[in-house]
């Protein structure tokens, strides 16, 4: 019995060490939002109740057009994930329900794009999008990413698990393809649709390399690119950097805290295939 207790204590000591190491950067990001700048500079990271202040957050908002960049990021996230879900739902429907020659080949073409690293495609895409006159616009940021192989993959898997008879019955009753997708297929696949939406939104919000390349003026950049610039401008004031990071982090932090169930479902289906 004592051996087991000793093992349990040891296990929690070990886990405690891992947790401290992993959450330290998170703690720093969150707590410095309410600390006076001088405390952060001196490495005193425990909040004292009567000295709380939002000075760091105000400094971050004053240093870069973060509020405007927030709006750009929101627009990019909404547009890009809505477009990805739409194109993916249409494609997944066509790949699962109607039978036609060549759909295996088309799915292979879509799936293969998952193996393309985005960074290796930016130079021609930059030429193309600049040529369309879309540099420094929200449309320019989202246009190469209106379709995503991963979303097709997730929705195709969801649709395959649905009862085919329901779809056939709807078609017998004279339901068109678009109506069948909207009123029969999608309502049945709602949980997986939420999962796909979350992954699309997460990658749109978190994008960095392409938005950095295709935008030039500070107020038209996404919040991620704005944050990187904040790091350059405030290199002597880490407290301001943390406050800016917290602002960028808030939406995804909420997603991870409250939507983890859905996110994990997306992971599981990737591992097993």
């Amino acid at each position: 019995m004592t051996r087991r207790r000793a093992a349990s204590v040891l296990r929690w000591l070990w886990l405690g060490g891992v947790i401290v190491a992993v959450t330290f950067p998170v703690y720093v990001t969150v707590v410095t939002a309410v600390l006076p700048p001088t405390d952060v500079a001196a490495g005193r990271l425990v909040p004292v109740p009567d000295r709380l202040t939002l000075a760091n957050v105000r400094a971050a908002l004053g240093s870069a057009p973060l509020a405007q960049q927030y709006l750009v990021s929101v627009a990019v996230t909404a547009l890009q994930s809505a477009a990805q879900l739409t194109t993916a739902a249409l494609a997944a429907y066509a790949l699962v329900f109607p039978r036609w020659r060549g759909r295996g080949a088309v799915f292979a073409l879509v799936l293969a794009t998952l193996a393309f690293p985005g960074e290796s495609l930016v130079i021609p895409n930059f030429e193309l999008v600049s040529g369309l006159g879309l540099r420094d616009t929200v449309l320019g940021i989202v246009i190469p990413y209106l379709a995503a192989g991963y979303a097709v993959f997730l929705l195709r898997q969801a649709f395959l698990a649905l009862p085919r008879e329901t779809w056939e019955a709807a078609r017998m009753d004279g339901c068109g393809d678009l109506r069948a997708l909207l009123y029969v297929v999608l309502p049945m696949a709602r949980p997986q649709l939420v999962t796909a939406a979350m992954w699309c939104a997460l990658s749109a919000w978190n994008g960095y390399f392409w938005p950095l390349l295709i935008t030039d003026s500070p107020q038209r950049r996404t919040i991620q690119v704005g944050l990187a610039q904040l790091v350059v401008d405030q290199v002597t004031a880490p407290a301001v950097i943390y406050a800016g990071t917290l602002l960028v982090l808030l939406p995804t932090l909420l997603l991870v805290l409250f939507g983890q169930r859905f996110l994990v479902r997306g992971l599981a289906s990737r591992v097993t295939t």
Binding site: A115, G118, N206, V231, L257
Partner: protein
């Protein structure tokens, strides 16, 4: 109905891949336009040009180190969690998945604050317990380590979530049978549980290696490739050549893009090979 999706992917994924191959065969003329056919010269440069060779090695070092730290760290966190009581286990899981909420830029920004020269928070905190921290971003070796650490921390959240999901789905009967046979603690972990986690571990090693090969954000935010080019990676060189200079070297950058694409396809092919052998 498949056409919008397929059309977009053809224009923004397949066409750029083909166009990159063409661009990589041409060198710059004096105006910076890629008009001089040079064949495979720019691919040879990747292995002969000292800067590029160094970037390739740095990329390998950062990718290797961060994969090791993130997957190893996630495994070290998940294994002891398996036998914890439900409540504390749920709390620990939430805490450990927090890094996943950070984007590459956000995590790099936090580490930029922690590692900042002279005012870095990490060294200030270490000073309170009597340790003088290293010059994280100013010495070449420490800078490579600092970038790897920031990358590993960013990747940790994903690795942890994948392994946590895998551990909760393990077949408890097999583990109990092994425990009845006298296997316990580390032995049980090593010879029963880790082999059972193999599919997830392979998946993680592959995806994390691929994202390690693409590491850019951490480099750009933390060091801009410095000190003296010590942390410049494949994608950072690509960025510098195509977008960071007054006279862009589009051809040379395209050759780098193709090398990256080939490396990623190679890693993916190895993954499929390994999985097929098991099946």
């Amino acid at each position: 109905m498949v056409l919008p999706c397929l059309g977009l992917l053809l224009v923004f994924a397949y066409w750029p891949a083909v166009r990159s191959v063409v661009l990589s065969l041409y060198g710059n003329d004096l105006l910076g336009d890629p008009s001089r056919f040079v064949g495979l010269d720019q691919y040879a440069d990747v292995f002969t040009d000292p800067d590029l060779r160094r970037a390739l090695l740095t990329t390998a070092a950062i990718a290797g180190l961060s994969v090791l730290l993130s997957v190893g760290g996630a495994l070290a966190a998940v294994l002891p969690l398996r036998r914890a009581a439900r409540r504390p286990r749920a709390v620990a899981s939430v805490l450990l998945s927090l890094p996943f909420a950070y984007s590459a830029a956000a995590s790099a920004a936090v580490f930029a604050g922690l590692f900042a020269p002279a005012v870095g928070t990490l060294n200030e905190v270490l000073q309170h317990i009597g340790i003088t921290g290293p010059e994280w971003l100013r010495s070449p070796v420490w800078a490579v380590f600092a970038v790897s650490l920031a990358t590993a921390w960013y990747e940790f959240g994903f690795a942890f979530l994948v392994l946590l999901a895998a551990v909760t789905q393990l077949d408890q009967q097999v583990i109990e049978a092994a425990a009845l046979d006298g296997a316990s603690g580390l032995r049980l972990a090593r010879s029963v549980i880790i082999p059972m986690l193999r599919p997830s571990l392979v998946f993680l090693l592959v995806t994390q290696t691929i994202s390690g090969l693409q590491v850019f954000t951490q480099v750009q935010v933390l060091t801009r490739g410095g000190p003296a080019g010590a942390t410049s990676t494949l994608v950072h060189e690509l960025y510098q050549r195509a977008f960071g200079e007054a006279l862009p070297h589009v051809g040379s950058a395209s050759a780098l893009a193709m090398v990256l694409l080939l490396l990623v396809l190679l890693v993916t092919a190895i993954q499929f090979g390994v999985l097929r052998r098991w099946a």
